[in-house]
Symmetry: C2
DNA sequence: GTGTTTAGAACGTGACGACTA
DNA sequence: TTAGTCGTCACGTTCTAAACA
């Protein structure tokens, strides 16, 4: 009959001090690797710590130092591969820097939802907030809001509050379009991500700008929602209405997949009849039918950059030069061919 | 010249008390929704809180209550779709229950790595540990270790410590094999996940058991590592050595994709020449070429179950009956056909 | 008495100045 | 002097018991 009441009392710094025959302050010095502790004393203390299985109380520590060693992460766009990878890599970087990460995943990008999610983090005394923002609305929710802690935003638009960390979506898109242009394509359809997505807008701009530079103008993009289904539908409609394209730049790999599906249904061959370029280089892309030419993003680097930005804000480290914006690079596979 | 020194002092419970003309204890009562506060007083206090933008210090609260309102999550297997979805849904459930989640992603399943990752969580005073364990080694790392807090393990094996939450991998695999048997297949090859993966072993057992029941015995599985590449390689070798199968049960959708790729390369048609069944139902599966017949898992429910198990352990709620193990269900698409 | 409010004591650390050899 | 050590205080909350309408 193990009752919850017999809460095993946990050792405090005083227990350790008593066992080691020193004051609690000396134990504190040992814990924090401060100088002026005789090696023999240090050893006695460490032995006592081990023996009592003493673990410092982070709560007490946070109370007096006003530092929680904790960072809040507000992440939207999960569980897609890109956002998931960024979160994963950010977590690793944070751990390496000695910080714990409290993550929250707002159900939508509504202002109220984001604010209450963030307020929960603030209540947990996080030292900084990192916002992984898929939609512009997520960024806007922080406008004119004094958080009391630094804000680092992972977002591909420069508007709005907070230190910005990003991958160069626009340049990535230009690279994709350039590839198709070099293959001799002139009509390059774009299946863009949804309105409100900053990545979608940046990629769209890159596509439009690069086309304009090549003297090709005025094309309107199609709009998907990142899902394979949306692009499947768009592809099916294009074919049905006799507007089957010769070259497509899809806003992400999932939509490229949906498009490939629609084209295959219509009996069109890729890359024989249609060239397709994706974006992200998800692990599946190399095994699409055909293997997808796409643009690879450095999510590992992005996660690191975000943590570096946090540390700079917290002045834990001498503020290193801001990292150069990482430019995605083209991965050519079998879904594109010259006309 | 904004120096770090001008740290904006944050309002405390005493500031609120002074402004409202009451004692700090009355403010505390208001904060915690305790009775015996006159409505007029409560209102004055709430007004003062709003005016000062007062936020209670979680650190101070945690120190005295010994409750951090925080749960530690040790997650392996990211950033794959399954684990990512589970993490996402667990986070949401935790937030709904008023808990923050500190997540950590060990780089590998080594005992030392897992322990140090977990110890970081313990130092943060988490009230419970949730272990999302892909490999058996992750579970083993916790054997014989008194954490001091409840442990809930999301893992498909019943061995080892901690409350267990899982999806019925074995039954899911049986369903997949049954489907192929009903289509008249007798030789059903299995491309299993890696040694050490509990999901892989469970699915493998389900496949073997179901075959045995059908009077088909002794088949040895192929071994992939969950990645499309591994299955592509396996598929290519099978075909090259003249052992092209007529029916394959792939351990997950990604490996099914790699196999489809290898079969397509070899000029074999799916489902005409080969029937393929996957596992997971990732968002891409419906748009593979051909759309993949697979087994769908309820990751949303699993995340909820995990949080429910935590709450039961913490006795926040009257312990409800443990949820029935969730059985995955078959989703039939176009990659399977009768012989 | 009864409902409301208050003052003081924890909680377990780190910072600081004082003390000792 | 100086390296090593110690005692007191503060951090911001909740809990307990006593005082007040």
């Amino acid at each position: 009959m193990s009752v919850n009441g017999d809460r095993n009392r946990v050792a405090t710094i005083f227990d350790v001090a008593r066992l080691a025959g020193v004051s609690h302050q000396t134990v504190s010095r040992v814990l924090n690797d401060l100088p002026n502790v005789r090696p023999a004393t240090r050893e006695r203390v460490e032995e006592a710590i081990k023996q009592l299985r003493y673990v410092p109380s982070q709560a007490a520590r946070a109370l007096v130092t006003r530092r929680s060693r904790t960072i809040g992460l507000v992440a939207t766009g999960l569980p897609d591969y890109g956002p998931s990878s960024i979160v994963l890599n950010f977590n690793e970087s944070a751990r390496d820097a000695g910080y714990a990460v409290i993550a929250t995943n707002p159900a939508d990008a509504e202002r109220a939802t984001l604010r209450s999610a963030t307020e929960m983090l603030i209540r947990q005394n996080v030292e900084a907030i990192v916002l992984l923002a898929a939609e512009r609305a997520a960024l806007d929710a922080f406008d004119g809001w004094e958080l009391g802690v630094p804000l680092v935003a992972i977002a591909s638009e420069t508007r709005g509050r907070g230190i910005r960390v990003a991958l160069d979506q626009r340049q990535g898109a230009r690279t994709a379009v350039s590839h198709l242009l070099e293959l001799g394509h002139r009509e390059i359809v774009h299946i863009a991500g949804p309105h409100g997505s900053m990545d979608a807008e940046e990629r769209l701009s890159g596509w439009r700008d690069r086309l304009a530079e090549a003297g090709i103008a005025g094309e309107e993009p199609m709009r998907g929602d990142w899902s394979p289904e949306s692009a499947y539908r768009i592809g099916t409609e294009l074919v049905a209405s006799g507007r089957a394209p010769r070259a497509v730049f899809a806003g992400n790999d999932q939509m490229a997949l949906g498009l490939l599906h629609a084209l295959a249904d219509a009996g069109l061959r890729v890359p024989g009849d249609v060239s397709v370029v994706g974006f992200d280089d998800i692990p599946e892309a190399a095994h699409f039918s055909p293997p997808l030419t796409t643009v690879r993003q450095d999510f590992v680097g992005l996660g690191r950059d975000a943590m570096a930005a946090v540390l700079t804000q917290l002045q834990d480290e001498e503020s290193t030069a801001p990292p150069p914006t990482r430019v995605p690079r083209l991965v050519v596979r079998a879904s594109t061919r010259s006309v």
